[in-house]
């Protein structure tokens, strides 16, 4: 069994063969002779998994763009590995957690928020993405309008015009330096939320990976602003 670079910090991935990131190492995948290959549609080179399919491997493509879609993906993976009951149980517990988080998130009603996935140039998560779905379920209104698209690249001034009550920053090893430099630059203070320190940092591995950990992200977002 092997894992992708994006899954390196998942529990259970230690010691497993690393198969690469967006463009996986196909030879190593084939060498492992897996019964099942699970790929993420947006996180994997399409040509790579089509190649694996054409070679007769059993490839399951996950691609939930909403939390509901992600739950469906969990059920499909469970069916594919012959553990539909376990998957159903997991989906059930996730649904319970989602409902609880949504209830908690109602406290945020009327508040706008923005998930800033990259600082320079600013790139935000749109409403029709899984990140946008999580944001909405946590009770926030996405400050980016639907017309802005999925992952729009915008100007600082546009961020200022959208004027979110809260800026959410997914923190990863990849974006730490870019965020540091951009926020030090000073011009970010045109965004009132940044100027006034209304910035929440969330582990990017929770928020930016369309898997069950999204529910962890949802819980963290829903709990924002309330006492721990």
């Amino acid at each position: 069994m092997g894992v992708s670079d994006f899954a390196r910090d998942l529990p259970g991935s230690a010691g497993k063969a690393r198969l690469g990131g967006f463009a996986p190492d196909l030879e190593r995948v084939v060498q492992l002779a897996p019964d099942l290959v699970v790929v993420s549609r947006d996180g994997t080179d399409r040509a790579a998994w089509e190649k694996l399919t054409s070679m007769g491997l059993n490839v399951l493509v996950t691609g939930g763009t909403t939390l509901g879609g992600v739950l469906d993906d969990v059920a499909r993976v469970g069916a594919a590995i012959g553990e539909p009951e376990k998957a159903a149980a997991l989906v059930g517990s996730l649904k319970g957690r989602i409902a609880a988080a949504e209830a908690r998130g109602r406290a945020h009603r009327g508040k706008t928020a923005l998930v800033l996935v990259w600082p320079d140039p600013p790139v935000v998560a749109g409403r029709a993405t899984f990140v946008g779905d999580v944001l909405a379920r946590a009770g926030f209104t996405n400050a980016a309008p639907a017309a802005a698209g999925d992952w729009p690249r915008v100007s600082l001034e546009t961020l200022a015009a959208w004027n979110p009550d809260l800026v959410i920053r997914p923190a990863t090893a990849e974006n730490a330096e870019a965020f540091g430099a951009a926020l030090r630059g000073g011009a970010f203070r045109v965004v009132p939320a940044v100027r006034d320190g209304r910035v929440a940092t969330l582990p990017g591995d929770l928020l930016e990976r369309p898997g069950p950990r999204l529910v962890d992200a949802l819980e963290a977002l829903a709990a924002l602003g309330s006492a721990p």
Binding site: W118, D120, S155, E157, A161, A176, V190
Partner: protein, 336 residues
């Protein structure tokens, strides 16, 4: 018979372009995602009024407009100088691989720790690293195009294609070599955008642009003489080799400073000199008109890049390429 440009037409064109440039920069200051009245913009420009408006006008809108003008002007003047030097109306820092070389130099400089993009000191240091990369590219293009010690004008573009391909390969290598944190920043940068404009970057670029122009403008008469061919220019007392060396340095410096600041923005150096040439009786006028025209073009292209898919922005390099590539094809077919 076709009349050629004279001095009056050049002055008139310069006045019109200068006015257009002021109008475009003014318009860029007035319009943005945040609605500000002309009065608020005017006050903010001089530092009074609402703090957010001041930041928007003085740190976002003004640097972006000025950076667009400087980068457009630098690329156009670089293209005009390269065209005069190489005797080829299709010469352009982007097409000849000079921009690619500058990008390699800049990226290498950043990876070697000359500073993160956007940091104040690196605004001055990175263009110098880009300049070295651009010079290497110019030398390679020259070596590939020279036949028996002379530049073969037909081979020049082919040579540029090869150097461009080499630069792209090196860029890809450097990007895969660097860590993911750098990669994403540099991919955004390479696409060419004015979004990261800061007052510091404007100051640094202004310094290099002035330096390039101070080196190039006195050579205008020599460029005129070079139109008769290098040999004839030499018999007119022009120090052909000296002129060429200074001009290559200056053209590379201008292109490199632009690339290091805003990434690769193509075709400005091709389009603008071609458009203003019919108005310029000589290279003094051509260089001045190219600067003004390039500045106006890029400020306009940036406005397009912001508004076409607003609120999302696209790369201004994509806009200039959309305008430039068809124009290049037309020019290519129009050649005798």
């Amino acid at each position: 018979m076709t009349r050629a440009p004279d001095g009056r037409s050049a002055w008139a064109a310069a006045a019109v372009l200068l006015f257009a440039l002021f109008a475009l920069v003014g318009t860029s200051l007035l319009f943005g995602s945040v609605r500000l009245s002309p009065g608020e913009v005017w006050n903010a420009l001089f530092g009074s009024g609402d703090a957010q408006a001041v930041t928007i006008v003085r740190e976002l809108r003004l640097p972006r407009a000025l950076l667009g003008a400087l980068v457009g002007g630098a690329l156009a003047v670089s293209g005009a100088a390269l065209q005069a030097l190489l005797g080829n109306p299709l010469a352009d820092p982007y097409l000849l691989g000079v921009s690619g070389g500058a990008a390699c130099g800049t990226l290498l400089g950043a990876l070697l720790g000359l500073g993160a993009r956007g940091a104040w000191g690196s605004s001055f240091a990175l263009p110098l690293a880009g300049f070295l990369g651009a010079l290497v590219a110019v030398l390679l293009v020259g070596a590939g195009a020279s036949v028996g010690g002379r530049l073969d004008r037909g081979r020049l573009l082919l040579s540029g294609v090869v150097v461009n391909a080499l630069a792209s390969a090196i860029l890809l290598f450097l990007l895969s070599f660097g860590d993911a944190a750098h990669t994403q920043s540099f991919v955004f940068w390479m696409l060419g955008s004015l979004a990261g404009a800061t007052p510091g970057a404007v100051k640094a670029l202004a310094l290099y642009v002035v330096l390039g122009l101070v080196l190039l403008l006195p050579l205008a008469r020599a460029f005129d003489a070079l139109q008769l061919g290098e040999e004839t220019a030499a018999t007119l007392g022009v120090r052909v080799e000296t002129v060429k060396r200074i001009a290559y340095l200056a053209a590379s410096l201008l292109a490199a400073a632009a690339v290091a600041t805003t990434g690769i923005i193509g075709f400005v150096g091709l389009l603008v000199p071609h458009a203003v040439r019919r108005l310029a009786p000589g290279h003094r006028a051509l260089l001045v008109l190219s600067f003004l025209g390039g500045a106006a073009l890029l400020v306009s292209a940036d406005a397009l890049s912001r508004s076409l898919f607003a609120p999302a922005e696209i790369s201004v390099g994509a806009v200039t390429a959309l305008l430039g590539a068809p124009a290049f094809l037309i020019l290519l077919r129009a050649r005798p």
